[in-house]
């Protein structure tokens, strides 16, 4: 085996094993025949193999049409929103547990802090397995539970004043609502077999451990920083998978809508608005760049 062949074989490891078993020999022959430099692969060829391999791993290559890419992005958005929502709400059960251990029985009204994450978990599992009806029902119940926890069960008071918007001013209100809208659209989407359904609950659990305020991470509260980091990563990976920046844009809608509601509510109620215009501009710029990257990469990947 020559040095060039050994290097090409190493680069071909970017492709999934099953794909390599089918294609590697054939690709290797073409690579060796087209090589300009007999010692090492060109940068262009190496980049093409890495991007091609990663795209084969994500499965975006197999989506085929623009609508299939759109539905896949919608499914990923719904699942990501549910994971994000769970990270925002997972501090609740931990808080209840810590308080119960230190101060005895907890305030019964605080059971919302357990009900809401439980409903989000059901929605996440159901969506991961492709049961969109159950996932949609659980997401809608989450929205209702969030509103009830903020406003109580007196339905007449729910939409009577601007103060009812108080729960919508928090970013943790929006993931369940946005996910339910995405799931509503998915109810009418053509059914496709769901690959690796366990991946999303596992990802959710990891995200909760890493991001949810808890004694493990010192009760850190930096969800927006995490979203911006994800958005930056999504823009970089757009040439590999156009769905990533689309998902990032949808996730960023949660804090954006919360800030918009806060501004609207504060203006109507006559409250002083203590929000930095720079923060709004940064959020808008990040959203615009992710959306642009998603649109450009999506058009390119959907074209044959």
């Amino acid at each position: 085996m020559t040095e060039l062949e050994r290097r090409y074989r190493w680069l071909l490891r970017a492709y999934p094993r099953a794909y390599r078993q089918y294609r590697a020999d054939e690709m290797l022959e073409t690579l060796l025949a087209t090589a300009d430099d007999p010692r090492r692969p060109s940068l262009r060829e190496a980049a093409s193999l890495v991007v091609g391999g990663l795209r084969a791993r994500t499965g975006v290559d197999r989506l085929g049409s623009r609508s299939a890419l759109g539905y896949s992005a919608l499914r990923l958005s719904a699942l990501s929103l549910l994971v994000y929502g769970l990270t925002q709400r997972a501090g609740g059960p931990l808080g209840v547990l810590v308080t119960m251990l230190s101060e005895g029985p907890y305030n019964p009204g605080a059971w919302w802090f357990i009900v809401i994450p439980a409903l989000l978990t059901i929605a996440l599992f159901a969506a991961a397995w492709g049961s969109y009806r159950l996932a949609f029902a659980a997401a809608i119940l989450t929205v209702a539970a969030q509103h009830a926890s903020a406003n109580g069960w007196d339905l007449s008071a729910w939409f009577s004043s601007v103060y009812d918007l108080q729960d919508a001013m928090l970013p943790q209100f929006w993931p369940a609502l946005l996910a339910s809208l995405a799931l509503l659209r998915l109810l009418r989407a053509p059914r496709t077999p769901v690959a690796r359904p366990w991946a999303w609950p596992v990802l959710g659990a990891l995200a909760v451990v890493a991001l949810a305020p808890s004694p493990i991470n010192g009760w850190l509260d930096a969800p927006l920083m995490s979203l911006c980091a994800f958005a930056a990563l999504a823009v970089i990976t757009a040439p590999v998978d156009a769905r990533m920046p689309i998902v990032a844009s949808v996730l960023l809608l949660a804090p954006a809508l919360a800030q918009a509601t806060y501004l609207l509510g504060s203006r109507q109620a006559g409250w002083p608005v203590d929000i930095s215009i720079t923060a709004i501009l940064v959020l808008a710029a990040v959203m615009a760049s992710t959306l642009a990257a998603g649109t450009i990469a999506g058009r390119r990947q959907a074209r044959m």
Binding site: E26, E29, T34, E45
Partner: protein, 110 residues
């Protein structure tokens, strides 16, 4: 249809070819403009095979390695012809433009 896809289909219109031959033929047909990388070529072949525009004509073992030869299907030929006609129609808008005399400039009185 993207240019690399167009020239991959065009390369296969005369005879079935294997990967390296497709790269070379596409480069010849495009006057050296389309230089397919192996990653791009096989991603396109996977997609075109999935769309039933291209199929494997022959599988052989050469120098101990599998070598597949690809050929155009009827569907692939139709898509290629349709794309060529679309581009020809677009080109005719410029090529067949009747030469109109430039409007005489108005003489502005001094």
């Amino acid at each position: 249809m993207r240019e690399p896809t167009y020239f991959i289909l065009a390369a296969l219109q005369d005879e079935p070819l294997h990967g390296y031959a497709i790269v070379k033929r596409a480069q010849e047909l495009s006057d050296g403009r389309v230089r397919l990388t192996t990653g791009t070529l096989y991603a396109a072949l996977d997609r075109l095979t999935g769309e039933e525009m291209v199929r494997v004509a022959e599988e052989a073992v050469v120098n101990g390695r599998a070598r597949r030869t690809y050929e155009l299907t009827q569907r692939g030929m139709s898509a290629l012809t349709a794309e060529a006609e679309r581009m020809a129609a677009a080109a005719s808008v410029v090529r067949n433009r009747s030469v109109r005399p430039m409007a005489a400039g108005r003489v502005v009185p001094a």
